[in-house]
Amino acid sequence: MNGEYVVQTENLTKKYGEFTALDGLTIQLEKGKILGFIGPNGAGKTTTIKILVGMALPTAGWAKIAGIDCSTRSREIKKLVGFMPDTFGGYDNMRVHEYLDFFGAAFAIPRAKRQKRVDEALETTGATAMRDLFVESLSHGMKQRVAIARTLLHEPPVLILDEPANGLDPTARVEMRHILLNLAAMGKTLIVTSHILPELARICNMVAIITGGKLRAFGTLDQIMHDVREKRMIEVQLAAREDVAKAAATLTAVLGPQAQVQESLAEGMVRFTTTQNDAALVRMLAALVDAKIAVAQFRDVPQNLEDAFLSVTQAAQAPDKADGEKIAAGGGRA
């Protein structure tokens, strides 16, 4: 263990017969970080998680948590990881405190400490009021809280949460976000999968985008945003509406005839997309100024994680891309 990364995978590969579910995944994650692990259905997220929690063996490569190999020392991994699968896994006729007591006992938490741990876990997840309710009677949001409380019982340094915000109402989603941020503040390292990307973007320090079993992007959110987008959308707000056509013509002249330049007379705005860098943008702005066009604003329209995700997945599907090409920078290190 290098003492720096809590979660490490190197060239992690999993094949089921001819089908490659995971292809050479390499990521590292530092302590206290929240990694948003995103990808379409069947991308390989669950396979990765299964390997990390010791439920599946990789065909090639390795995965370590806190320096412990997930394949060969899966028993130790269980103590290091709190895993919340996408299904609740509840039992009928069991109250919440009995449910947590059972898992506490299964993790061999001594009886003297167990009650305290159960109370703390319930408090951390805001589920104290549910302790006497039967688990089958809980709402989905309540179950998610109890499920997270369950993962905290044995005080693992790493939490792996599969779709924790799935199916939650807006209020519950906000509360879930606070719970996850609190856990990170407590020093836990979190790997969170979700399809609700705006939500994920608000809590994650790191993002990994995976499609077709391959890592397509990995890094901080800013890195991903900066590196992933192939086309930037620029908005030019003009001082005078009558300059819209002239501005569009000027930009087309600079960008070339294939450029997609949109005019909006009502807004007094011109929009265009480009793959060119900041230096090129400076030249475009200069051209507008040289053409005596009064520019009120010249700005890069911010993209969100959804845009980045779509960009990555579309790029991955593009026929001219090499199959294994990683689009984003970040180098698999964080």
């Binding site: 299904t87 509840g90 898992f103 506490g104």
Partner: protein, 555 residues
């Protein structure tokens, strides 16, 4: 086929490979029964005795198959839809509750009709041998079995609407069907020749809940229910009347439940006695003797206790102490009632009859309870998704299996212990029966262990609790009831040696033999059956451990 429920249900059932397997096994069994006893020496009894015996065997096999198959379809029908959420969707369509109910009944009846159609060649073979009446025997037999199937379909659907878990629905339905078929005739067995007037009438009508007296009458047998002593046609008529009443009642009760109220269940308030007022606490302490109060806040799992065992107790209805006490109380009452009957005069109940009834009761408890409790041990965890949570704990496969087995084992042990007073009375009345009682108890314990291990092993092969539970029920029913068909055909259809060999596989027969129950005293099944069961237990343990190990290790 205008009712879309019929189309969906019937097509769904017929597409299932298990239905095809059940049909093939059913047909092959009936054909096998007939072929086994088909005359090979070109001689046919002019009296029709041989064909009559063959028809009886065919009829009993047919009835056993119906009892095994019908609940498997009807018990899961509603509860599975409830769990999948499709019942709510159906009830939100313009389809009336009657359409839903009749559609399901028609679909299950369609499968039963198919099975009956498949049985026709075997029945025709019996008829072809001569000496069997189509009008007096074969047609009434089919009518009675069709009526019984419809009755159990309706009862199963009703129980299914009341249940929230598939395994609970299966357990309750099989227990109800068993009570309707077998337990209902026991009072008449006592009453025959001993009670007169209203009590005798009550016993006769109670026995009419079972199709057995009617079928025996169709076959012209007296036997267990003394049907021969009844007036001609009375047993058949009584059964037809009673079963129609049950069908009508079940239909009305099911229709009343098929509305949105089915889902209108309040969330648990999570009431805890410890936090209630002093008066409530005092009341519940008295009523539940405190320890058995289900609303008492449970203590933390102890350091030397297997957490899986405690979890199983807490999640199983019959594992909860108050339910356990209710069941033990019921067993004690039955046992004490038998003790009272025995103490009032040995001419009413002799010790061997009492012993046989006790053995049948205990065997029934084991066969009904064990698959229901153990059938979902592994499959239920996999189905609910909690298996992967168990895999994420440091618990070993051995701890998981042991905890689960102990939880069911303790429940079974307590139930068996609750019926011990009956044996104590037997020994008081006749101390010479000590060896028989000890052998019977050993047989029962071995039967319980075997039933538990076999059900758990079957559970480890399935990903659905319902499939595992139904398979476990089927396996035990074939082993314990199916092999008794050979005993029913003893002397005439099957020779002593063959019956003796077949019964060695049957732990119930071994227990009845140990207690020298009427009809079983001549067979020397012990200790060979014990050894066979012990090997079976060993095999089940190996299978269970291997399967659990496979399920817990990384894929």
């Amino acid at each position: 086929m205008n009712n879309p429920i019929i189309r969906r249900e019937l097509v769904g059932v017929l597409r299932n490979w298990r239905t095809a397997a059940a049909e093939i096994i059913f047909t092959m069994t009936l054909i096998g029964v007939v072929l086994l006893r088909w005359p090979t020496n070109a001689q046919v009894s002019l009296s029709g005795r041989q064909s009559q015996e063959m028809l009886r065997l065919f009829g009993y096999a047919f009835m056993t198959a119906m009892i095994l198959i019908v609940p498997a379809f009807s018990a899961v029908s509603m509860v599975r839809e409830k769990q999948a959420g499709t019942l709510a969707l159906i009830l939100n369509t313009p389809l009336s509750p009657w359409s839903v109910f009749s559609g399901k009944v028609a679909a299950i009846s369609g499968v039963i009709a198919l099975l009956m159609g498949l049985s026709v060649p075997a029945a025709a073979a019996c008829y072809a041998m001569g000496g069997v009446s189509l009008r007096v025997q074969i047609e009434p037999l089919y009518l009675l079995l069709a009526l019984a199937s419809l009755e159990y379909t309706v009862v199963g659907l009703y129980i299914s609407t009341r249940s929230n878990r598939i395994d609970a629905a299966l357990r309750s339905t099989y227990a109800t069907v068993f009570a309707l078929v077998a337990l209902a005739v026991i009072p008449q067995e006592f009453a025959q020749g001993r009670l007169t007037g209203l009590p005798a009438q009550v016993c006769q009508w109670l026995a009419a809940f079972s199709p057995l007296p009617a079928i025996l009458q169709v076959f012209g047998q007296s036997g267990v229910t003394h049907a021969g002593n009844m007036s001609a046609g009375s047993a058949v008529l009584r059964y037809v009347v009673v079963s129609i009443v049950v069908i009508l009642w079940g239909t009305r009760a099911t229709l009343q439940r098929l509305n949105s109220g089915l889902f209108d269940r309040p969330r648990s308030a999570g009431t805890i006695t410890d936090e209630s007022s002093g008066g409530v606490q005092a009341y519940r302490r008295v009523m539940y003797l405190w320890f058995f109060d289900p609303q008492r806040r449970s203590r933390l799992i102890g350091p030397l206790t297997n957490p899986v065992m405690v979890k199983e107790f807490r999640t199983s209805r019959f594992g909860r102490s108050h339910w356990m006490m209710r069941m033990i109380g019921a067993c004690l009452i039955v046992s004490l009632a038998l003790m009272l009957a025995a103490a009032r005069g040995s001419e009413v109940v002799n010790t061997r009859t009492m012993g046989a009834i006790l053995v049948i009761l205990q065997s029934a408890l084991i066969i009904i309870m064990t698959p229901g409790l153990a059938g979902g041990l592994i499959a239920g965890e996999i189905e609910s998704g909690s298996w992967q949570l168990l895999r994420m704990t440091p618990l070993s496969a051995r701890s998981i299996v042991l905890g689960k087995l102990l939880s069911v084992g303790r429940t079974l042990l307590l139930l068996l212990l609750a019926t011990l007073p009956g044996y104590a009375v037997m020994l008081v009345i006749d101390p010479n029966e000590k060896t028989q009682v000890v052998e019977a108890l050993v047989s029962l314990v071995i039967m319980a262990v075997f039933a538990l291990l076999a059900s758990a092993a079957i559970s480890s092969f399935s990903r659905r609790a319902a499939t595992a539970t139904a398979t476990a029920y089927g396996f035990l029913a074939v082993l314990c009831a199916g092999t008794l068909l050979a005993w029913l055909g003893r002397g005439s259809l099957f020779g002593f040696t063959l019956v003796d060999w077949i019964l060695r596989l049957n732990p119930v027969a071994a227990t009845l033999s140990a207690i020298h129950a009427p009809g079983f005293g001549h067979y020397g099944l012990i200790p060979l059956t014990w050894w066979i069961m012990a090997y079976g237990c060993g095999l089940a343990v190996v299978v269970l451990v291997l399967r659990t190990w496979r399920l817990t290790r990384p894929q």
